[in-house]
Symmetry: C2
């Protein structure tokens, strides 16, 4: 079963968001500070990047035979068994007695009702310290904590066809982001515009001054303005690529068969970059499905027909074309069209359409319902050897929300949830639950966000009744894995 992840920001009102304090030591569970993430080697596409190959690759996720849950849940072997029980579906949250998650983030999860052996969702919540790779000015710098940067990071990963891709991404994606940010540590802390060009080696002169410009040419009369923000966006975009490439290289050792969608929040220097993968727009995210990405997929099939292997047509039809309809005229839609028109059915129109179906039943190559994600390197069309991966994109859509531009109150939260939540809960219902639960707690009680996450998970799961999990309105609850982060937008300073 394929899943989607999406996010929603509920309640955007008053009370100041402070910049994150630099933690003295990133001593959180599953810490990202220790061994560096494996830097990708010889990436083919995107092109060679700064830093590639400059550090030795490290094995960061040991191949594991059994399933796992986020370490911040601090589950004992008995707790792990309870979390894995499809019959009881006990809601899991970090223990009250344990160390609180950064920002007093609330978290809750529950396993599916039997659709897969284990919970294929994964989660990560970290404070990540980024040490500069070297001085941008070319002079090697003493390693010193004070000159680094740190970012807060939340990630939800919704696996399909197995949980390994989600597990691997939950352990490594933030390290790839850290790796990509290393070059930017000095640049981001310097208010002047980013240098357009960096020396290739420490000590070599930079070429960031404009005297290096070539003579005037009509469209080059001014340099393009590149903002600090767009550098962070670019770093996150490339981190997703490197994560996907590492998954391709190491998938055998990690027993990665399937793939996963990712929903990630990065808080850095006062801005929250909300990375949405297959998320819906309410209001911070967007789903990537064969329907929403139809034109990208059709264009790829049209420009690279060899990827269709003679089995598919890049044209869309409202239903399967039958051989006896040859010569008749059927409604179709080409990659450039949003409307429909009639065309005469020819032999190659009898091929299966690249994109077909609607809503939850929309599929690409009759196989997969999500079109962006990490992993799926082995995925092939049913009873065929045709690879599907060329049509999948691992590029995220990054949206920036400036926390410092608004005053946030303790009831302002960002709700991140996997499909299990959003399939059965409307945005209005989420907003109502936010209201109801938070108002039952003192504003300065940090446990309110975990209580809210639990209420959201319970509300989506329902209770066992009439041979199924049912909601109070008697509709079916979600039988999917359900995972929810509740991030108070008041920021890290409020509940230290």
């Amino acid at each position: 079963m394929l899943n989607r992840v999406r996010s929603a920001v509920a309640h955007l009102v008053s009370s100041g968001g402070a910049p994150p304090p630099r933690p003295k030591s990133p001593d959180l569970p599953n810490s990202a500070s220790a061994p560096p993430a494996a830097p990708p080697q010889a990436p083919r596409s995107p092109p060679a990047r700064a830093g590639s190959g400059s550090a030795a690759p490290a094995r960061t996720v040991e191949a594991r035979a059994s399933f796992c849950r986020p370490t911040f849940l601090q589950l004992s072997p008995g707790g792990l068994r309870r979390a894995d029980d499809h019959a009881g579906r006990a809601v899991q949250s970090p223990p009250d007695t344990g160390r609180r998650l950064p920002w007093s983030t609330g978290y809750a999860e529950v396993i599916n009702s039997g659709k897969s052996r284990h919970n294929e969702d994964q989660a990560c919540c970290e404070v990540v310290y980024v040490e500069g790779r070297r001085s941008v000015s070319g002079v090697p710098r003493e390693p010193s904590r004070g000159q680094g940067l740190c970012f807060y990071y939340w990630g939800l990963f919704d696996g399909h066809a197995g949980g390994r891709a989600a597990e691997m991404a939950s352990r490594l994606l933030h390290r790839h982001i850290r790796e990509q940010l290393k070059d930017l540590v000095e640049i981001l802390q310097d208010p002047s515009p980013p240098p357009l060009c960096l020396p290739s080696t420490p000590g070599a002169p930079g070429s960031s001054d404009s005297s290096h410009l070539v003579g005037p040419q009509s469209c080059w009369s001014s340099q393009k303005e590149v903002t600090h923000e767009s550098l962070v966006v670019g770093a996150i975009e490339n981190a997703f690529q490197f994560m996907d490439e590492q998954m391709a290289r190491e998938r055998r050792g990690h027993q990665v068969e399937g793939g996963c969608c990712a929903l990630v929040v990065v808080y850095l220097l006062g801005k929250v970059a909300i990375i949405v993968r297959n998320g819906e727009i309410i209001p911070m995210s967007r789903e990537f499905t064969p329907e929403t990405e139809r034109q990208r997929l059709q264009m790829l099939g049209f420009l690279k027909p060899e990827l269709l292997g003679g089995e598919f047509t890049h044209l869309e039809f409202p239903r399967r074309v039958q051989p006896k309809e040859l010569g008749q005229r059927m409604l179709y839609r080409d990659q450039n069209m949003t409307g429909w028109a009639y065309k005469k059915i020819e032999l190659e129109d009898l091929r299966f359409p690249l994109v077909c179906g609607e809503g939850k039943k929309a599929r690409m190559m009759a196989t997969i319902g999500v079109t962006r994600g990490l992993g799926d390197h082995n995925l092939r069309v049913c009873s065929s050897t045709l690879p599907i991966k060329p049509f999948l994109s691992s590029f995220p859509e990054v949206r920036v929300y400036d926390l410092t531009q608004y005053e946030h109150c303790p009831d302002d939260v960002l709700v991140l949830g996997t499909d299990g939540l959003w399939d059965v809960t409307s945005d209005c219902e989420v907003a109502a639950t936010v209201d109801r639960v938070l108002s039952a707690y003192e504003p300065n009680d940090p446990s309110r966000y975990t209580a809210l996450a639990q209420a959201l998970v319970l509300g989506a799961r329902g209770t066992p009744r009439d041979r199924g999990w049912r909601l109070p309105n008697n509709k079916l609850g979600s039988g999917d894995d359900i995972s929810v982060f509740v991030i108070p937008l008041g920021g890290p300073g409020s509940y230290s």
Copy 2:
């Protein structure tokens, strides 16, 4: 000089829009009712469509040696000379004494201040009658006016590198739309859902019933719902393709060298389809430029590198890369990225970027500033034989505005303007002029819309002063051709 066209809807308030009355006879100047538009033959892309080749091609625009203005201006030879005078720049409108344009549409235009020999804008305003091609049910029908459809049509065409493409499009595009609608005449008048499949020949049985469906397959469990509206959208989209293909075939005879942007409004069965080509979004349109279409262009260059001819790189850089920077790290942006990152400069990064520059100076292949339009079939990169046309799209973006959903008052207008208007006039200024001019006339005085169009053109042109055309605030007026339609949204019934 390259131009852009855009549209804005000003004042959307009260007073009912009636469906268009069927004119007894389409006896307007430059009528589209007479010879049919040349139906395209053997189109390569998009695929073969219904009706292709079913009628003999007709020569509809005679090759002409001199320039022309819209026939509805009814210019005498002397008037034509005045309209062509760069020094006087007299504003042209249809004569008061003449037949009024449909819907009492206002129109005004003025020639440029010398940037091209003639006015490269063109305009068309028509009521077009569509006779059904044949009965959908397969039984040939008696030709009968009563069973046809008619649509109202307004088009502005902003030529570049010559005015011939704009001229040809202004005379033929609505005929291509008519041609595409012929198959839909019965279907659009039948409230039941459109048939998915039509017989290939009159008399053959249709296959629109669902008993023809193949056995259940996961993603085909339901047929895609195709609306009447999406059929009209598809017809318009394909009409643009056929127009562009006809221009390719017949460009020699018509002396078409350059291309044009198109902004088109179609009113059919109570809905206005506003087709925007290279238009900005205020609020009904969007510009198609190397900046807004960067990712489409880069993706095409990445997937079909042969189109770059070894001269261009699909990567974007904030300025031209210099040979001495080889090995250093420069900011770049790939087709999947919205942010920027550093990459090590390699030899092929020294090629000129496919997309460069910003705003009005943005260029594709260092040549063209608009990326969708009609024509430009001969356009090559400067001092090179590399063709640019493969990167240009002739597909429009179609937006539908349902006139029957709102009550429109006589002051509600749709303003269509070419670049000449929008380059120097803000949306707020347009709205203020709409207010000022319309309030000076009685609501039922149909000449108010022409007065408004004239005021908008004059306000963008300015008056000759200090060696140039200047606006009251002393800024430069537009030296470009300026053309403006003002369409009262109250509809065709109000001023008959």
